[in-house]
Symmetry: C2
Subunit: 380 residues, 2 copies
């Protein structure tokens, strides 16, 4: 598997951004979010996805500028100069910062109208940018790069597929070690170790894992504690590795020992809701329908009130939560990758969630998560 | 060690925030940053430090309101209601969000002027807040909670001390396994596993570790790669566990086998710079002096140009980078905790960094990081 995104894809992405800038009659774009910087530069494997600083793209043919601190300068130059980026550094010791060097660059490039996504700049930063830019006007705009990212290309799909494979292997290996007396904490640490070892090109996990057990499974994103697993517990594990910056996001609920009738029944309802929701995913289908149909199943079983986050999910990619979601109007497009994750949480009793990553294909959908979904019973 | 911050400290923190609000004639504060929410509520052990949503504090005696999603509601209520917080939920399925429920609460509380730190709200969010708040004016303000956090109380110091102990134990255990042929990646995974297992009350690491080897040590925050360690390599490892949300941040450079004269010389210069800088830390001393004196040492050895991030450091606490820093004017106060981390990075050759966490005491300083600083040689 190629470690780095092919150069022609970087070119396509920057061309798409430029096209959009030209359409909006803006002549520059300031990119601050690590995921957008990673997407447009191909540098997605740093400790913060992409290194800190500013990516400045023009509507014209000038090289994109990556403006970073002296700390990240060498690696940025090594990796981005061969891709046609101009890499500039700021040095705090000389009173410089990302903003001051960006202002200089914008002046040299003769930019007059510079857009900045208002979802990735703080109100305080925006004020500084408005004050410091002398020759250009700063325009807070919608984050159209995040929208471009909603449709994954073949290389990106490969990464998400690989992240799912790594995550699934880690889970299947760890699940064999689970037994009563193990703490939530140990389970999380062992799983994360495997996720971390198996990932590619980036040292980070997709997110801090959730491991909740027994009655604590009624908390969808509960903290990990030192609670010991007990015979009869439900255990919910929400986890994901990254490959070259791209996330997997998977949840399984299993039982320690033999399930009770009620555990079996609730699990089977959630599974049926998930399978039903997944079947609604396909190009041209309404996004909201997946969650609706999943909820219909839970409603029929009298479980709707316990499905506190519904039966749909969210896009995944460089971020573990990104667009598109099943909570939005609009239609699926080939290349969207989304989680489908219905959950039922009964206070005082416990909960069940089943989450897979699903790709929208040209003709329908493909589930990228290879872990089986029968109610898994670990030895007690 | 107490797992939870004592209630009287929570009361003190909220009282300090209220005092400041009264002084500024603002009658409410919207807290959005996870670290500030964690600091003011004591909930610092969630997967994102504190759960998502809004913490609303009034200048008066009303209970603080924690407004969170249905996903985090149960755990928030369990943990924060006994501490005197009113916990409210928003339900996306009903068209609610954090903002809509916060507006309702502010209206009920009769708030007229509500401050929000401009460094933790995006420009887009601020626009929505300004539009949706009907009876109250929204005022972007400086983040005075982050400033309160710069002086740690006894409980917080205990956590940072514990995080340093865990991190040091992990490092000393892993270093015995290091040998030529091991990859940067494996070293990072093994170390993070131990950091993760040993931490307390929070599943996260302080940050994604840096492990760079050989010529790659000239990149202070280089990505972790599959490069194999070789005899003669310098290896730099920058890492930290968390305890109840509080970070350690430690760096050591070691050598695989026997050091060359140049390696020994550069290491010794960096160590001398670090020891000199640390001696400048003490109550009432100028913050900037630590970095200056450290740089003086490097300058005398002709290494100043290679010290790309200087010879000082930054505050640590719930965030791995917070105030105060050695780059600022102002004086040290007892309770500040800061890294001192000079580094020298010679392109094409390699680099050395030595970083400890240092507490400002009533009478001087205390180094919280117990790992020795002689140039460590691992077996080759």
């Amino acid at each position: 598997m190629a470690r780095c995104v092919p150069q022609h894809l970087i070119k396509d992405r920057i061309d798409s951004a430029r096209e959009r800038l030209q359409k909006c009659e803006i002549d520059g774009l300031i990119v601050l979010s690590p995921t957008n910087k990673g997407y447009l530069s191909g540098f997605t494997t740093g400790t913060n996805i992409a290194p800190g600083g500013v990516l400045l793209i023009t509507a014209g043919e000038e090289s994109p500028h990556y403006i970073t601190s002296t700390v990240d300068f060498q690696e940025c130059r090594e990796r981005l100069q061969p891709r046609g980026f101009e890499v500039l550094r700021y040095d705090y010791r000389k009173g410089q910062n990302a903003l001051s060097i960006t202002v200089d660059a914008a002046r040299r490039l003769g930019l007059r109208k510079v857009g900045v996504p208002q979802s990735s700049i703080t109100a305080g930063q925006l004020r500084s940018y408005e004050q410091e830019f002398d020759q250009a006007e700063i325009l807070p705009i919608e984050d159209f790069i995040a929208v471009l990212r909603e449709v994954k290309d073949e290389w990106e799909i490969k990464q998400i597929r690989a992240a799912n494979r790594v995550s699934s292997n880690a889970f299947e290996r760890i699940i064999r070690q689970v037994k009563p007396g193990m703490t939530e904490w140990q389970l999380a640490a062992e799983l994360e170790y495997r996720l971390r070892l198996g990932g590619e090109g980036s040292p980070r996990l997709a997110f801090s894992s959730v491991v909740v057990s027994g009655p604590r499974t009624c908390m969808p994103h509960g903290s990990v504690t030192r609670r010991k697993l007990q015979r009869g517990d439900l255990v919910t594990v929400d986890f994901g590795a990254t490959c070259n910056g791209y996330c997997a996001d998977i949840t399984r609920t299993f039982v320690v020992g033999s399930p009770t009738d009620r555990q079996r029944k609730i699990y089977s309802a959630v599974l049926q809701a998930q399978l039903t929701a997944i079947k609604q995913v396909g190009p041209g289908n309404k996004r909201a329908k997946a969650a609706q149909r999943g909820m219909d199943v839970l409603g029929e079983k009298g479980l709707a009130e316990y499905a506190v986050h519904g039966a749909g999910g969210h896009g995944i990619g460089l971020q573990v939560h990104e667009g598109p979601t099943t909570g939005e109007c609009g239609l699926w497009e080939p290349g969207n990758v989304v989680t489908i994750e219905p959950g039922v949480y009964i206070p005082g009793w416990g909960g069940v969630r089943i989450e897979d990553d699903v790709l929208v294909t040209e003709t329908g959908y493909e589930v990228l998560t290879p872990i089986k979904k029968d109610l898994l019973q670990v030895k007690s």
